[in-house]
Symmetry: C2
Subunit: 188 residues, 2 copies
DNA sequence: ACCTGAACACCGTTCAAGT
DNA sequence: ACCTGAACACCGTTCAAGT
């Protein structure tokens, strides 16, 4: 690169960030190719770093997975916050979420687990949960959703919906139908 | 053992069957302990056989998995065939299936894939599919199920239901509620 | 026929040595 | 501070050698 380092620590930090990005890019490439196994050794090799560097940045595979899913998760949270009220708003949100879960397997894997490892993921999950609860609250008052459904139920049902769609070999053609079944089932 | 072999080939076959059972027992022990990874080397060691023997009996891990799930699958098929007509019969069947899927992760894994490796599993899946279609047919005629649902949809929705239940940490307390949501969603 | 287990490649994880 | 990569343990899979 043409830029000279200003101080050695800044240079270190910049280098560290660059190295981190290389690892994430290598990992993302694998996920995009449909491989969710995330072998640390192989990714390190792809990224041109030592294995130890992988472990320094991502102490567990789960940490790496949550980091990979972070961006998708943020977009999902943004969509949940922007969702319009009413049963239709919830349906639209679920459709968007389903699309995202189907395109990003790392997000699907992260969202399906009840606990998270990274503080950032915990925060995102709480934001999502909050958005869900607001929507639920209004929908329940409007009488469009059965009253025994919780915010966490919505997360789990979304994951189940995604799994049902994925369990077929019809190129996700069933998605809209299953979404419809779920939303009808959620009515009071 | 005290029994003497009658012919050498019979003895071989009997030994082969015994060895096979030992491997399956070792594998089952792991699944029961919550480990679905099925490492061939380790299972062979547990069973006291050479690795090659594992591969001779179960050419792929998937073959081993389907064999493990076989018994549960058979029981599920039997229940599906014995199910009573009407929406309530279908609900009861789904409840039983859900219980089975939650107790036997190998069955859950096998049923979630659209294609099977063992001929025996293919046969079981067709039997299940047949039973589902019969139930669906009657339910549709009675007007208790929406007409756009297929037998394969039932398989996939069952898998999704199981996944949604598993995605929480409430000891499957949500099972009955999610079942209710699904069955309501299936109404016309 | 069927079984054994050595052999090789690969991945997980740690940690002493480098800059 | 951060990175490297050797080292060891373990698993996947094959195949020549045994009975």
């Amino acid at each position: 690169m043409a830029t000279a380092p200003t101080t050695s620590s800044a240079s270190l930090r910049a280098d560290s960030a660059r190295v981190r990005e290389r690892m994430l890019a290598a990992a993302r490439e694998r996920v995009a190719a449909g491989d969710l196994e995330l072998p640390m050794n192989a990714i390190a090799k792809d990224a041109g770093v030592g294995v130890g560097t992988m472990y320094r940045h991502f102490p567990t595979r789960r940490t790496l997975l949550e980091t990979l899913a972070g961006e998708s998760f943020e977009m999902l949270v943004a969509q949940a916050k922007a969702a319009t009220d009413g049963a239709e708003g919830l349906t639209d949100l679920f459709r968007l979420a389903l699309q995202r879960l189907l395109t990003d397997p790392s997000l699907a894997a992260v969202l399906a687990s009840p606990t998270f490892e990274c503080a950032e993921t915990v925060a995102l999950s709480q934001e999502l949960s909050g958005a869900f609860m607001q929507l639920l609250d209004k929908a329940k008052k409007a009488g469009t959703i059965r009253p025994d459904v919780t915010g966490d139920d919505l997360r789990r049902l979304m994951c189940g919906l995604q799994y049902a769609v994925r369990s077929g070999n019809d190129d996700n053609k069933a998605a809209e139908r299953y979404l419809d079944i779920l939303m009808k089932g959620l009515r009071p």
